[in-house]
Symmetry: C2
Subunit: 353 residues, 2 copies
């Protein structure tokens, strides 16, 4: 029987609870589909600071790189926010992304019919919406140098090279080929030189995908269009900071942040994590929603392990569980038949599988 | 009788039509309130390129600086989009802002009860919403140097100095004092050095306004919160590019972009303009909505000329005209009793005044 080695980073806050449910579901789906998964746990974020003194131990870097893929919970919390910048959980996270070479952050925003009322947007505006935001994750202004703050003047550098733009564009076009074949590239080319290179390079890569319709949008307009008419989008591709902003805007189209998974992929390994944070305020109460993490696990099956059948099984099961009226507390006001706690939701999905 | 000198830039596309209506309304309100306005027209944008060869003639710079305030329509259009960067309408616009020293861009987003259905957001989410976005307009990554695109690598610099952040913060806190006394500063201080200086400086300025409640939000979260719960905001203050994105997001809270005015103010002069563009596709058809320009004119009365009474008169009149069911074509689907063309809407407001 085929076996995959999965590295696990549970992290802080609700991280451990939600990852535990995802593992439960992974085990059940893999059993059903005839493969096995082995897990190894690593530390990162606040818990790593408390245990080892640094937010990202070398052991974690090596362990994840050696694994087939990484399932990630969430990190951070107020407790560590006042540490010097180089010791903060966020700094560990950015270094982790860089070390793993995960240049492509994929954030699907899919509106489930059952939860069409969970968004603050009108149902008719979002029903059937299925957007994939592809965000460049290890370049741009996040990592650009020089960067400095001398207390009087401070600056950062938004920088991209052609190869960086080419590889993320390829990711976007390849994804579009398996979807509705439309890519909208977002930049600010009317103002920024770095965006002009972005736009020109996307256009060059587009030539290799004649079947894909490519369009360009300024970032201010894109933010507006995501609220005005999100259904116009199939794949959105953009740089690191614009992607940070727009993928959060797109998540509001879905409304329920507890449902949103993500994949960060590259040439070395891939990391799968919910887009929500560690929510320290509800940690340990058992009321966290594990669905975003379970959906992240199913993205892992699809993109890293090529176990499409198991991925579909999980996603279809979640749809049925939602259709049957099972909800976690965050979704309790949307046609709930029964409200389940975190581990009961995991159990319910396993039961249905 | 008091007289003010107003410089007028009609610009391209629908610019001339909408500015003409605003002038009509200004004349009627000033007459009612006992002062006069003299107008002098200047060229900018596409029409300036066609007439003088450059998007921003020196005469325009000098003329506007010598005036009490500038009322601005809209510029740009496809016709000029393929010109070299230094000749494009946008380049003229950015140079204009810089030359005029208008560092503070104010964009109110007010939801009118009559048009609460015009937004894609649910009525209960936006009803009563009244946000003022204060965007730094002549600094940040828009103007930062060095900037370059050599075809392989391209970069821009996001830079702020303490005095730049101090003056825009003051603008925000002063505005908050006349409103609900809450300022939310938006940055990305968990990643960017320039944002850390921004945050620290806002906190220093905040000490001079003990009555104002100050909060900080990361830009990704702010984009999300504007969709999730826009009513939580009073004044938002942020840098140039984040403000570009967030003010467009905020405009979607209102929904009808034809209703949104803006003011760009500084120590030398101020520019008042609708946030929508020049809409070349409907230029000359007489169906443009002049309300955003008329509301910009009323901001001019309030902020530059201190004619609060006339400003209130215009704003109250517009509310009544909307309440009575008069709509322009773009708003025709929201409880219209009668759909008016551009100049008939101007006339109607004059009639009510
Ligand atoms: C925590 C922060 C550094 C991070 C980012 O900005 O990338 C987060 O917002 C995200 O989107 O994963
Ligand atoms: C046209 C463009 C340069 C401009 C900007 O980005 O400032 C516009 O989007 C705006 O917000 O006024």
């Amino acid at each position: 029987m085929k076996n995959y080695n999965i590295s696990i980073i549970k992290g802080d806050g609700i991280g451990p609870e939600i990852v535990d449910e995802a593992i439960k579901v992974l085990n059940s789906a893999s059993k059903k589909c005839g493969f096995t998964l082995s897990y190894k746990e690593y530390l990162m974020g606040g818990i790593a600071i408390d245990t080892t003194g640094v937010p990202l131990p070398q052991e974690t870097i090596d362990g994840v790189l050696a694994s087939d893929a990484c399932l990630f919970g969430a990190i951070g919390g107020e407790k560590w926010d006042t540490l010097p910048r180089e010791l903060r959980p966020e700094t560990g996270l950015l270094k982790f992304r860089e070390e793993m070479g995960v240049y492509a952050n994929l954030r699907p925003a899919i509106v489930y019919d059952e939860l069409v009322n969970a968004s603050t947007l009108k149902p008719e505006v979002i029903q059937g919406c299925d957007i994939m935001v592809v965000r460049e994750l290890i370049g741009g202004i996040y990592f650009g140098k020089p960067r400095e703050n001398d207390g009087f003047k401070a600056y950062n550098t938004m920088v991209y090279t052609k190869p960086e733009i080419e590889r993320i564009s390829k990711t976007a076009f390849e994804l579009a080929m398996k979807r509705d074949k439309r890519v909208c590239s977002v930049d600010k080319a009317n103002v920024l030189e770095v965006s002009q290179l972005w736009r020109d390079t996307v256009n060059e890569v587009a030539k290799n995908y004649p079947e894909v319709e490519v369009s360009h949008m300024y970032v201010d307009n894109a933010a507006m269009q995501l609220v005005r008419n999100p259904k116009q989008f199939d794949v959105i591709v953009t740089g690191n900071i614009f992607g940070d902003i727009l993928s959060d805007t797109a998540s509001m189209v879905v409304g329920s942040i507890g449902l949103l998974p993500s994949a960060s992929t590259g040439d070395k390994t891939a990391i799968y994590e919910p887009i929500h944070g560690s929510a320290p305020d509800i940690a340990g109460l058992g009321i966290a929603n594990p669905l975003a993490t379970i959906l992240s696990a199913s993205m892992m099956l699809r993109y890293s392990l090529n176990e499409e059948k198991a991925a579909n099984l999980i996603e279809d099961t979640i749809k049925i569980v939602l259709k049957d009226g099972y909800r976690t507390k965050d979704l309790a006001s949307y046609d709930a038949k029964e409200v389940l706690n975190c581990s009961a939701m995991g159990d319910k999905i396993v039961e249905y599988i």
